[in-house]
């Protein structure tokens, strides 16, 4: 097995429903332009409020993917 190298990029996903959906939204967007997505780490969780309701859940993710040679 070769000594792989990975890159990490930082994305912020948002969702009106939940953090899980916000994560999936970021992963979906990342997979449009990046291959070999492998794992993610949650760095920060935030949100916006409007009229006494949570208007969006926001999650800062660090996403790791394997670089091809």
């Amino acid at each position: 097995m070769a000594d792989n190298v990975y890159k990490k990029v930082e994305l912020v996903g948002t969702s009106k429903k939940s953090y899980e959906e916000a994560i999936q939204n970021a992963i979906t967007r990342a997979s449009k332009t990046l291959r070999n997505l492998d794992w993610f780490e949650v760095k920060e969780m935030r949100g916006a409020v409007s009229k006494g309701k949570v208007a969006s859940y926001q999650v800062v993710l660090s996403i790791g993917f394997r670089l091809e040679d």
Copy 2:
């Protein structure tokens, strides 16, 4: 546009169902006494256990709101 000033308060919301509901509970309570709630940041996630089950999800939030002049 004026140079706004915001205040941040720290609340702990709890819920028997999910972190999203615990956040909404804290926001709902905050909006009883504070106006112009704008955003929140998740500072800590904890919970209580009872008889091998999660008894409550607890989330420490920092909530920001705009101060009026």
Copy 3:
């Protein structure tokens, strides 16, 4: 009331559905061998990705339980 002593152990729960379920999975497993589970703290949230989808939610928990004399 006596001066109790508690121990904390670190577990990682996983779930294909949500962080709440990943937490419950870790608590369920812990309660097989430990008594007096009392609270937990979320230390880290991560996940695995496969084919552009979140394949598993992973949560690192610190779980506290009371030691018996």
Copy 4:
């Protein structure tokens, strides 16, 4: 059991004798204006020096209390 909401405030207690007394001083002052004080967390410990002696022990506390409906 209802889903409670708690607020946290940050106080700095000081004492010429010990950190334990500095904490109690902050709690005593907080309980003049706040009800349902429940727990505290030590955030920072500092102090002042005068003529080669500790002149005061200073402790930054985050104090949690339950909000009434």
Copy 5:
């Protein structure tokens, strides 16, 4: 000298010109309703961007003031 107790509040100051002005804006606003302001700590520095220019400097401050008996 008595054992003083201090409270800390968290404000966010903004300015179109500099972080120093953003700090002064927050202090000015705080001094409208709080007495005995004593010190501040910079917790976070951020900003907004518009059309390739910094549109505002934002500074999160923890401001300490002495509580009167």
Copy 6:
């Protein structure tokens, strides 16, 4: 001298009197079941409040002990 290996466990000691006693309580309990206790690190200091008084001092300790071969 051999290359020793140590293990660290996390305990929470409590005391109605002081942090020093809370630490000793945790060490006393640990030494019932563990040998070769060597050092400890204070990770967190907290407490409970009841009727305007500190009801208990709580200290989270990481305790290191040498593993025998």
Copy 7:
């Protein structure tokens, strides 16, 4: 409103005059190749010294921008 996704990149701006100018330099450079720049966060502030004078202010920024679909 759609669930937007943002990307964050890390740049280091430098200036011989001030941190505000160092930030603007990084933003100006970023806006050459990236659209929809939205906010920035200051991660680190450093500098170089030469002959007893600050020779450059250096600021590490995390810059967020909205990804287009």
Copy 8:
């Protein structure tokens, strides 16, 4: 694939030669009593000095292993 649960333990490995050997020493010791060791994280790197030489490299590791059902 089932929703696995993992446990993390904290060990300190030491070596007179290098951090890599200190890590391997801790892993070797852990594998005497634990099965399914999977990954480790370096938490802290320290060392002892004697007569102007590094006398031992010490590494604090968090080691993860899969719990069997």
Copy 9:
């Protein structure tokens, strides 16, 4: 001397032998597509375990390089 701007990217290098080799592997891969690599910072050190042996050393690096005008 102009006010340079630098970019930082995050890579994960791996090696079966040592952290130094894992770092060099990441730098080698980065230098295939990036020019003016200048410095790196170690953010995290981890590894994989297989059959009681360290199977790979993994190092998360933040690598800085100067942007050309």
Copy 10:
């Protein structure tokens, strides 16, 4: 009032009795060689264990003093 400059040094005080005494021991030692000691910050609290008892309380302090012109 002039724009003062302060220096900070890091000392570790130890005591067989309490953290307060460990702090005073470090301050006493510092004041032998340094003038204008002004404040201290507690950075870390640790200790040694011997035969199931706390053998010494150890406190890492950052001590600030004003530099004379």
Copy 11:
């Protein structure tokens, strides 16, 4: 090129005008007694308040300089 060794010292600069001037004040003072000053890192930014105005900007710096053989 030899393998240089550097030392870091921690100073606090103050200024009534700006953080940049507070940094320069600390560097100026350091260069009175230390040679080969090379870089600095901002560790903390604070300030004093008097009568609703910022009375001084205070910056904690870690300053690095090359040790001569």
Copy 12:
């Protein structure tokens, strides 16, 4: 046994070969002017890159030594 007091100084060691050698270089230099060196802690690991190769490994150390009375 007396209540010892220790001092900590921060040095940066560099090496073209490895972090272990960089640490030893810093210790060697420190022992020229300081007695009773006792332990060190690794605070940061960095490096310089030149032409796609690691040009130097740099390690920031906090070194502790016992103060004589």
